[in-house]
């Protein structure tokens, strides 16, 4: 337990560093938000100064940082200049959209890539092996936003099997009562099968787009790790003891092979956090990435700052989970 506790503790300085960096980043943004806010020509210089003061931009940097920290501790991420609304509230509203998509994409990637890598490892040099590598390499060479657009063209425009990419749900359907914010889960809670299917349908293309890119590293690592494990001495001993093929592959080889694969999963998740932005743009998905991009154009620094912070925090959390899972799987790992 102490191994896990220590790991959690060591994430804190990194988190602090992330907060500092995020803060500094947006202080460097060009353009004076106060001027933007005061695009109304009726405002005088005094009004602009007042706005600046209210945003705290006239204080020295370290003071601004302390204020920022204090606000963060209270869950206050500032206000969006464009909408005037608190950023935190907007994020809370939009986060489930991004999360639902990312989880589905991650799930798809793992469920396809890991078995693919396993089969390729059990039959090296076979047709499946080569096919897997080809698909994986192609998937990783194609930029996410291009893949998304091409998929839309093929499956929506040409084949007509996928819905129009205009958001989470067909505008003629009503969103179910919000429990988690995940349309699929909420639909299940409400017993509304039609909405469940429609929401899933709408998520398919964007999730597949994100998953495609993640296939390559996952499949490759699973294959390499499994091959390495299957060639190790303790597997030879297990075979020599007459253990059944199933037991050797699943209990002996797989668990050992999974260790580097779990680490790769962490990296893949990090990539997906970044790809979120691109996919949300392509599919008009109302998530936090879309919000962040729109706010960049407006030089609206609070949402951007909040976005970067949240993404980094999620990434740190994911890495922590990966670390903890590794510790649980592998008794050899010390701190």
């Amino acid at each position: 337990m102490t191994r896990i506790g220590l790991r959690i503790l060591s994430a804190i300085p990194t988190l602090l560093g992330v907060v500092v960096v995020t803060f500094l980043l947006t202080r460097v943004l060009p353009g004076d938000p106060a001027v933007f806010f005061a695009s109304n020509p009726a405002m005088s210089a005094a009004d602009i100064a007042a706005v600046r003061e209210s945003l705290g931009l006239d204080r020295p940097l370290y003071e601004q940082f302390l204020i920022y920290l204090g606000n963060l501790a209270q869950g206050d991420l500032g206000r969006s200049i464009a909408t005037g609304q608190p950023v935190a509230a907007e994020f809370a509203r939009r986060l489930p959209a991004s999360a639902e998509l990312t989880f589905l994409a991650f799930f798809l990637a793992v469920v396809v890539a890991v078995p693919l890598g396993l089969v390729a490892a059990l039959r090296p040099g076979s047709l499946i092996d080569h096919a897997a590598r080809l698909i994986a390499t192609l998937g990783v060479s194609m930029p996410t936003f291009v893949t998304g657009l091409l998929l839309i063209h093929v499956f929506y425009f040409r084949a007509g099997v996928m819905p129009e990419p205009i958001g989470r749900l067909d505008p003629f359907l009503f969103e179910p009562a919000r429990v988690t914010g995940f349309l699929t889960i909420d639909a299940l809670f409400a017993g509304d099968r039609q909405v469940f299917v429609a929401a899933l349908h709408q998520m398919m293309l964007p999730a597949v787009t994100m998953a495609l890119f993640a296939l390559a590293p996952l499949a490759r690592m699973t294959r390499a790790s499994m091959i390495a494990t299957l060639g190790s001495e303790f597997i030879r001993s297990a075979r020599a003891a007459g253990l059944s093929r199933g037991k050797i592959i699943v209990v002996y080889a797989l668990r050992n092979a999974m260790l580097p694969v779990v680490t790769t999963m962490g990296m893949v998740f990090s990539y997906m956090l970044g790809a979120n932005v691109l996919v949300e743009r392509v599919f008009s998905w109302p998530g936090i990435g879309a919000f962040a991009i729109d706010s960049i154009v407006n030089l609206d620094y609070a949402p951007l700052q909040g976005f970067v912070l949240i993404m980094a925090a999620i990434f740190i959390a994911v890495n922590l989970v990966v670390d903890i899972v590794t510790v649980l799987i592998d008794p050899r790992v010390e701190n």
Partner: protein, 283 residues
């Protein structure tokens, strides 16, 4: 210990795996296009002609035309130079800066090492693309800032790589011998230690090139970095995005294919370099 490319190794690597040959061929093709392309294109990449807007591929316009009637083929070819330069610039910058910094902290250790390593940890706590986005937004919307942002985001890899290669070697036999022979620390670093890490650095660099191209294109797609009407693969895809759902597929597909070809080439190149310089590193 030193992995240098002997001519025999190069030949064997090329013959052993046909993909390596393909990688080099494609690389050559891309370089030729980047250098000679702009002078050889059939149409002016910036010339608009709304009369022929949104035409599918034809004999006059091999890749079709976009919504302003510009020839897509010319634009894709001309964009090669820009995308390549951005990627090369970013990778070169981060490779040089990162490896020197990593070598220094790996060699001298101490407080400098602790501080820089912590900074690197913090940098790596951000999802790469998100950080690049934020940096471009912070520094300003221009091409050079895309280069800087990509370079900064890639720094940690080189710092860590150089550090992990130099650190165990600083006390090795030949370093000690050099020190005993009177060489100063800088000499030891530059003459003996850094050349030894050249191989993994170069391999990492070539893989990074692929990622840098995707990164730059992604940023441009979002409207950060390169601005229209400059031909660049990312913005061309962005411009074409509106039309793909209504059937005009060529505006997105051809720049997309160009992107894929470039990234694919750099990924293959990374594998080929691994075969030539140090086959042990291959997965």
């Amino acid at each position: 210990m030193t992995a240098r490319a002997q001519p025999g190794r190069i030949r064997r690597a090329l013959r052993g795996n046909p993909l390596n040959l393909i990688a080099l061929g494609l690389l050559g093709l891309i370089c030729v296009i980047a250098v000679l392309g702009p002078s050889l294109v059939p149409h002016d990449p910036l010339a608009t002609d709304t009369a022929v807007a949104l035409q599918p591929p034809s004999a006059q316009h091999w890749f079709g035309t976009d919504q302003l009637g510009r020839d897509l083929f010319s634009r894709v070819v001309v964009a090669t130079r820009l995308d390549l330069l951005i990627a090369l610039g970013a990778v070169a910058l981060s490779m040089v800066a990162g490896s020197v910094l990593g070598a220094i902290i790996g060699y001298w250790g101490g407080v400098l090492d602790a501080v820089v390593s912590r900074l690197v940890d913090v940098l790596m706590a951000f999802p790469l693309f998100v950080l690049a986005m934020a940096l471009v937004a912070a520094l300003g919307n221009s091409v050079i800032n895309v280069v800087y942002a990509t370079a900064i985001v890639n720094l940690p890899f080189y710092i860590r790589l150089a550090r992990s290669e130099i650190r165990p070697r600083r006390a090795l036999g030949y370093a000690e011998a050099a020190r005993a022979g009177g060489s100063g620390n800088w000499r030891i670093l530059s003459r003996h230690l850094i050349p030894n890490i050249a191989a993994p650095l170069v391999i990492q660099g070539s893989v990074n090139l692929g990622w840098a191209v995707l990164n730059a294109a992604g940023l441009s797609f979002l409207g950060l970095g390169v601005r229209p009407p400059t031909p660049e693969w990312g913005i061309m895809v962005a411009e074409g995005a509106r039309f793909i759902a209504s059937g005009q597929w060529w505006i997105v597909t051809f720049p997309g294919l160009a992107l894929m070809l470039a990234v694919f080439t750099f990924n293959l190149l990374g594998d080929a370099l691994r075969d030539i310089l140090d086959p042990r590193l291959r997965t």
